[in-house]
Symmetry: none
Subunit: 206 residues, 4 copies
């Protein structure tokens, strides 16, 4: 804002981000298999050759998209240090964050889904995407473990598989085409009951 820096770097980095955005949008529309360099260039409003100037190969492009996803995820999980919250509150935040994604960033979810699929046979993608999922599972397992310790969740709860269960439920829900917000609330409620400690009287929580 102040004295604009020589913005040489910025300009180039901006372009790369614009390309990443366009690529994501196109992946959502046509899937990874329908992704064409020409279309991306068109959407960004540049020549194909210019696209290749910034992102030399299609492989690099997939890398760029992956990186962009990583940034997206990291942003969401790092922005909020919730260590002072109770496990139950933290779980609610997870439910809320995922709902945000479902309503506002459905495309991020779609792109991640495509990347996961592609990661099945593309080691480069796999090595970039799986850690992201693993980190999510670990964070969820942390929450559940803490809740088990402080008695708000079941005493016989096994954190890792339970995390898998919660996340699987959320992601699976995201795949169901005609799901409503009400459905999402019902799912969250069910998940709360599934991990809740039955011996503790429900407070007015959430």
């Amino acid at each position: 804002m102040a004295h604009t820096p020589p913005h040489k770097r910025e300009s180039s980095e901006d372009r790369r981000q614009a390309i990443a955005r366009a690529a994501c949008a196109l992946i959502v529309e046509k899937g990874m298999e329908g992704l064409r360099t020409r279309d991306i260039a068109d959407r960004v409003g540049i020549n194909v050759a210019t696209l290749h100037y910034h992102v030399p190969t299609k492989e690099a492009l997939v890398g760029l998209v992956t990186e962009s996803m990583r940034t997206e995820f990291r942003a969401q999980s790092q922005l909020r240090p919730r260590d002072h919250l109770t496990p139950r509150e933290r779980l609610e935040h997870e439910f809320f964050d995922f709902h945000e994604m479902l309503t506002r960033k459905l495309e991020v979810l779609a792109v991640m889904s495509e990347l996961l699929e592609r990661g099945r046979r593309d080691p480069t993608v796999r090595d970039a995407v799986q850690p992201m999922m693993a980190r999510w599972r670990e964070m969820m397992a942390d929450i559940l473990r803490a809740g088990r310790e402080d008695g708000s969740f079941r005493a016989d709860l096994d954190p890792e598989p339970a995390a898998q269960m919660v996340i699987g439920a959320l992601v699976g829900f995201g795949r169901v085409a005609d799901a409503s917000s009400t459905d999402y609330e019902r799912l969250c409620a069910e998940l709360r009951r599934a991990v809740a400690n039955p011996n503790v009287a429900k407070d007015t929580a959430q």
Copy 2:
């Protein structure tokens, strides 16, 4: 060599099935985006033109694969009328069936996953694949509902979202690359506890 036996029809249907099998195998290997008519023809051992004689377009080919998946699923769920079993037993059967798929028919899972992805933007595929998933969810919801009625599952269990939860957990597990059989058993155990009625003493259940 002799006079051609009358099962010309069968022969043609055999070809189609061989093509479907080859297509599935190739989808597993290279993904939907790497699926080439030529490769399929090669694997079946026929000419590309011959392939197009049996399956006129690539769209039809995707349809054939989808159909083949449907058959596969129907086979598994219809072969065993389990109405005489207890809900808990039926749930165990679901766990076992999915484990079978994980160990013996991982490719079916992979193809389904690809089809689901493609279904996101290909209505034809979506209309064929989503009912399969919906049917699975309903079946699971039935089991859970029955278990709630007979007191073996939680009284506050909401069948539909709970079904989503169980299935999401299973499918999500299938996506984790380095998962072991032990991990699967831990997941199933957690799911059992998640739906179990806490007021009922656990019997010797597996």
Copy 3:
């Protein structure tokens, strides 16, 4: 020869030869560096894709051209068993053959020249082209050696380098743009004298 076979093979082989011819012509016109698959296809009168059907890659195309050159050369050197001729006569035949090439198949020479150049860094081409040149040198050395033995050529003639000299003179002459037939005759005459046995009276030699 008799009843034309289903000529499936023939047809395909014809195409390949037509492609080779077109490629050679284009190499003469634009050089190896100006050789474009599109141009070849156009000249043959087929689609580029059809060209690639018959000759899958440009490397294969260069291989085809090389092979075609080999055939051309072999044809010329094998068609005429000249073992019954005197060395002097055989040398004259070489002079005549090269003159033929200069006047009637200048393109063969041009293509060979391009291949030799490319062979400098393309091992595949080198391995195909160098033996052809080596064979020519050996044949020439044989002639010269025989002439030395029978006294028609210099007694102190060293066959291998002398062969190099004769061939170098011919090829170098082919490179001179504005050379006339008279110049060629002068060159041949000089070569005759260069290898001749000075102690033998010249007969009616051409």
Copy 4:
């Protein structure tokens, strides 16, 4: 930083020479057909745009290389006024010079070869390169003529074609990949005998 020294002109000319050198090196490595402006710029350590500032088009670049070759050749032939030497000595010098080129400046030979090839269809190159070869032939013819006059070479030697023969032998030798120094010596010996006056007793000549 300080006041730019006055040799701006020189600096620019230096750049051009550096470009010419880089271009030659790359022609040797990848051939004329593999010559890329980007590669040249990289090797010189400048931007492509800067390269185009100094040498506006690729055609100009080829011209620059050609010019550089001309300089190279002129340097070699003008540096040594050998008019006081005997024809036999002058011939030996030619043999020696070429050997130098074979061992120390093989790249110059390679570039010349590429230029000759390109000259076949590029008039600009042809008009620049052929005079160089012509001059070489003339110089060689001069030597041979002088030797014929003073009786050291054959009396029936025809200078022009004989020059063609000697030069062709040398150049052809340069093209043979696996040639050794011994082979070169044998070739030179053979050339000496081919032009020598048979009626003159051989002195201790090398």
